[in-house]
Amino acid sequence: MVQPDLLPQLSWRRPSPRMWRARLLLLSIVAVPVVVVVVVVAAVAGGAAPAVATAVVLLVATAFVGSVLHGRYRSWRYAERDEDLLIQRGLMFRRVSVVPYGRMQFVDMTAGPVERVFKLATVQLHTAAAATDARVPGLDRAEAERLRDRLAALGEARAAGL
């Protein structure tokens, strides 16, 4: 259920497919213990039939959450244009951010524990405006470093005052 692009003529890039595996790992870390505990409690308290029923309900719910996460993962894309960076994301609430390179104050690259396991990183742009929301998660480490260095170089070349 991926929406058509708002600006289809651009050459969009996507986060690494490993980002989806990382999200899936996070989902299973939360979902597996919950499903097991609830099903065991249901089996002990009510017997086989309620246990099977709760298991089916929980698995369907987990599958739904998983599909939403997958849609969200698929919605991320970014494009480096000559003068600005475009980031598109969101499934229900779709957002497109445009950040001119000249407006960039600094770029940072972070990698949380799960991202590190999958050799991923997040690149974030900061401007003087607090509302600017320019983040690209789930990038391959090498691609993240390339993007960070390129953005930093472009930001320096095109820097504009407040």
């Binding site: 779709r94 497109v96 445009v98 950040v99 407006r103």
Partner: protein, 429 residues
């Protein structure tokens, strides 16, 4: 004649008294209450000691603080245990403000605040100098900052706006919260006449709310009393204040957005308010008593013609006259039924203008040259209605440009066009 010190100089010897002044005021209230409450049986030495400590602290801080002009820098050294030394290149100076707290006015002292652009602690204070000295130091610092000789006479000012105090009070009272509280108080009194116990209980609930709102009104009146705006070659100068007066220069180059407010209750009188948003760092640039919600008004209350003239003066070529086709489409009423009658947005090559508001109409003009980023947002409801919202983010913190509920195709065109227009606007001199 110049009186900027080239050798280390101290601040005015009465400074510690003004520094301790705030504490003195608070103590006076506490002592007064206690004297009334306990008929003078409380010992006074505790309070006396507190005043003494405050005065000694102020005296020590005065003794260890010194300043001078050296090598084209304003140098300030302060602190007894943790020495702090500020070197401030005068060429980076943005504005010099003169603030006079109540006690300072009584003693004839004023604080000089030096505002610079950039990072770190961006405000340096000389607290306090003699009254006339402060004004001449201000003029000389500005002259040096512009590369002129310090003895250059102050640039002449041309007054453009003066708002009488009575109008400030009337405008502050004519606000929706004040009206609601007044209605609530009247209703509670009416109930009290019929059923005393219920009425008093209601008054007990309304009382604190009324007090809070009353204090807000008093604060605004106090800050904007005798508001005067003047034009001078170095920018717009603003003077206002009842107890504490401030004289500041508005750094127009750092202007991020202009907003014209038309509250519902002011409409019969034909009054509007014009506010500006200035790029400032999160905490350093803010004076202690200024809350995050206060914005700088360039016209606290006045006729629309004057506000429109000011908009054109601040942003050449900008207009707040709504062009055709700028209203939000009729279907937007499903998403924002209470705001739809005001919603509008349009842009030209240099400015984005957005009109929002339910009861109070707010027109925000953002110069594209100041836009930091653009965001296009569409939720499920807006997608069904074929609408989208475009945000124009600026470095100001109070009112970003938000073009709410535009037709989807127009919003998409904005996202493509605005960055290009913004780049052109930035490169224009």
């Amino acid at each position: 004649m110049t009186d900027l010190p080239t050798h280390w100089a101290r601040l005015h010897p009465l400074s510690p008294i003004v520094h301790a002044g705030r504490l003195l005021g608070a103590l006076a209230v506490v002592v007064g209450l206690r004297q009334v409450g306990s008929r003078g049986r409380q010992p006074l030495w505790v309070d006396g000691a507190a005043v003494g400590v405050a005065l000694v602290g102020g005296l020590v801080s005065w003794l260890v603080t010194r300043w001078r002009i050296h090598n084209g820098e304003l140098q300030v050294e302060t602190g007894l245990l943790r020495r702090q030394s500020v070197r401030l290149p005068l060429t980076r100076l943005q504005a010099v403000d003169v603030v006079r707290p109540l006690l300072g006015r009584v003693l004839g002292l004023a604080e000089v605040r030096v505002v610079v652009a950039g990072h770190g602690s961006s405000r340096t204070r000389l607290a306090y100098l003699g009254d006339e000295r402060a004004d001449s130091v201000r003029a000389q610092l500005l002259a040096l900052a512009h590369g002129l000789d310090a003895t250059t006479p102050t640039a002449p000012e041309r007054p453009i706006i003066a708002v009488p105090g009575s109008r400030i009070i009337a405008a502050a009272l004519l606000s929706t919260p004040v009206l609601l509280v007044l209605l609530a108080v009247v209703a509670a009194i009416a109930v009290a006449v019929v059923a005393p116990r219920a009425g008093l209980a209601a008054l007990g609930v309304i009382g604190p709310v009324a007090l809070t709102i009353g204090l807000g009104v008093a604060r605004r009146v106090g800050a904007e009393w005798e508001f005067a705006l003047a034009e001078s070659p170095d920018g717009l100068r603003l003077r206002a204040g009842l107890l504490q007066t401030r004289a500041e220069t508005i750094p127009l180059a750092r202007l991020q957005a202009v907003r014209v407010l038309e509250p519902l209750l002011w409409r019969p009188l034909g009054w509007v308010r014009l506010e500006i948003d200035i790029a400032r760092r999160r905490d350093h640039d803010r004076a202690e008593h200024e809350s995050t919600t206060t914005t700088r008004a360039l016209l606290p209350v006045g006729p629309p013609d004057l506000a429109h003239w000011l908009v054109k003066r601040l942003l050449p070529g900008a207009s707040v006259d709504r062009p055709a086709q700028s209203r939000a489409p009729l279907r937007a009423i499903l998403r924002a039924p209470l705001m739809h009658h005001h919603l509008a947005a349009w842009h030209d090559a240099r400015y984005v203008t957005c009109v929002t508001g339910r009861l109070r109409r707010a027109t925000v003009v953002v110069p594209l040259a100041k836009a930091q980023s653009f965001r296009w947002v569409q939720g499920p409801v807006l997608r069904r209605l074929r609408l989208a919202t475009v945000h124009v983010d600026t470095a100001g913190r109070h009112f970003p440009g938000t073009a709410l509920l535009r037709p989807a195709d127009e919003a998409a065109a904005w996202v493509t066009d605005l960055p290009v227009l913004a780049r052109a606007a930035r490169q224009r001199p």
